[in-house]
Every structure is written in structure tokens, then in C-alpha cells.
Symmetry: C2
Subunit: 202 residues, 2 copies
Amino acid sequence: MADERVIEFFFDVGSPYSYLAATQIGGIGGRTGAEVRWRPFLLGGVFKDTGNEMPARVPSKARYMLADLARWGEHYGVPIRVPPSRFPLSTLAAQRALTSVALSRPEKVPDFALGLFRAYWVDDRDVSQPDVVSDVAGACGLDGPAVLAASGQQETKDALRRWTGEAVERGAFGAPSIFVGDSLYWGNDRLDLLERNLQATA
Amino acid sequence: MADERVIEFFFDVGSPYSYLAATQIGGIGGRTGAEVRWRPFLLGGVFKDTGNEMPARVPSKARYMLADLARWGEHYGVPIRVPPSRFPLSTLAAQRALTSVALSRPEKVPDFALGLFRAYWVDDRDVSQPDVVSDVAGACGLDGPAVLAASGQQETKDALRRWTGEAVERGAFGAPSIFVGDSLYWGNDRLDLLERNLQATA
């Protein structure tokens, strides 16, 4: 059951709960001895495929989320600035860039993803813009222009589409979607449960 | 700030996460010294007023919820049988009965509510039926037929409508909705946070 020691972390930079989870998932891997695989997907594609809708569609829910996100940031001790100036925004450029790095240098994905998350959810930058994506890539020790060039290749586009479809096929309907084998955990608020279950099977 | 030591617990018997929260909320009151006020509302009315929709509307989310609810039941050590044979069902009779008891004998609401929750989420009974509601009331030491008679009075109907509107006005969009003063906590998965915040202000 090798899969039972692998945490597959499907995320989209545009999802604030994905950001919160991204700040914690490495620690869970370290404490449980599980391998974390960071897997970019496109949340808009997930919504389209499943018939789900973004939670902030309901105005009172959107207001609640602002307070809820701030509480989580405080609880984790991580910065979060909500609402960002632009929300929602297209994460296609960012998710394709992450996909191209996942294909070529997977060990760099966590740093690059955290850089993009911070750019959007802390520094309020417009991560829909390729030059911002390139800039963040550069700050992570990647070659920004090369990452952008790879992002536009058909292989990258196909991989992002395939991974999104795979997540939906396995039961995802939102973000973050975290799989351990066949078991889905949805949201940063299920990370404690995920960690308990990994400890119980260690 | 008297409000800061009162937990207002808005719930609907048809909501499985309300059931889970109902099994825990008394303990939180006891440990934090806060008073818990059990406040029936009509989740269908909340959805209608806010434009929100039931989470089980999305098939893959509904499938996930079955696993998630079972995990919570195991975590809390409380029984839960999902899915019930009938879901969703009308909780109008149950919520009106709870409202009539809240108006006449508020100290009996927790027992009656837990009885109705268990009837639906453990014993798979059809709580949309007035005779089942009456039976559960009787098992809680209430006069079942009298509760049903009071449920049909205009005062009861108006109160349930008014409380539902009040919850929506204060920011509720789903169930359970738990208020401490102006602060909303949505879902049993925010109870740990609620308890931490109450301890911090104790």
C-alpha cells in the first residue's frame, strides 16, 4: 500500500484555503513521514466539470469567509491579506507555469507555489499576469522567461487539463483536494483529521 | 459584553452537520462557562433568502459528505447512519415543534432536539411526519399531541419565520450557524476555534 504514505495535494493559487493548506502540508509530511506531492490543477475546470460553484458566489458566505480566513491565518501564525484587490482572477498563467515546473523540476514546485500564493494572498500582486508569474519564478531560483515559454507548450497545457480531470475523476469538487490513496480530504480544515489518520496507519 | 458569554446555536434537524454540532455544543458550554441557547431555524428558508444551495446538490460533494460525516462521527464517538433513507426531507413539522417548545419550555429544547436528531440521523426515522415528531416529544417527557397543537399556532409559525430571518440578517447562510455576539461560526468543524476563542476571552 505505497499510496497510503503519499499525500497528493491538488491546489490552485486562486484559492485562499489552498494557500492556508499549502503553509501546513509540508509540516504534516515531515511529522508523519509521508511524501507530499504538490499537484497543480485548475479550480475553474473542477467547478465546470462537477457543477460546483465558487463559495464566494453567495454574498453572506463571501463576507463570512473573510473573517474565517483571517482566523485561520491567526491560528496558523501565517500572514493573509483579504480580500485581495482582484478576486476572482484567472490563474491559468500561474497554474500552467506550475505545471511546466512540475514536469521539468518537480522538487521546485513547493517553493514556487508558496511564492505565488504569497504574491497573491499576502502581497496582493496580480498573479494573473505572466510577468508577475515570471518574477516570482525568478525569485525562487527558476528561469522566469524559460518557465513562461514552457508554460505555453502543448505538453504543459495538456498536463494541466489531464491532472484537473484526474482530480475530478477521483472525486474532487473544490480546492484544496488532498488524496491519500482513494481517501479525499477537502479543505485546510480537514488537515488535522488527515494527520491523525496518517499517524494511525504509520 | 454579556453577549460574549452566550453561544447561540441555530440548527435544523435536517442538517447532518447540525446533528454533529448538537452532540458537542453542550460540552463546549460546560467547559467554557458560556450559556448555550438552542435556536431552531429553517435551513430551507436560509437557502432561499441568501441564494445559497444545499451542499449535496453536487453529486461528488454529496459522496464526499458521506465519508466526511462518518469520519466526524468516529472522531466524536457518536453514532451516525448515512445516508438516511429519506434525504432531503421537510423539517417544517420538526422545526415548528421545536419552536413551540422554545417558546413555552426552552429548557427542554436540547433534549427534544437531540431526540429528533437521533431519530433522523441514527434511527433513520421519517421526522417529516408529525406522528414521529409527537412520539419523540413524548419520549423526552413532553406532551406530544400538545406540542403538535402548539406547532400549528400562528405564533409558532411566526416565531420560526422571525428567527430564520434574524439568523440571515446576522449573516447566516447555512447550518449550523453559531453566534457569539456578532461573530459567526459556521459548521461543526469550527467548534474547536469557537472553544479556543471563548477560552481566550474567559
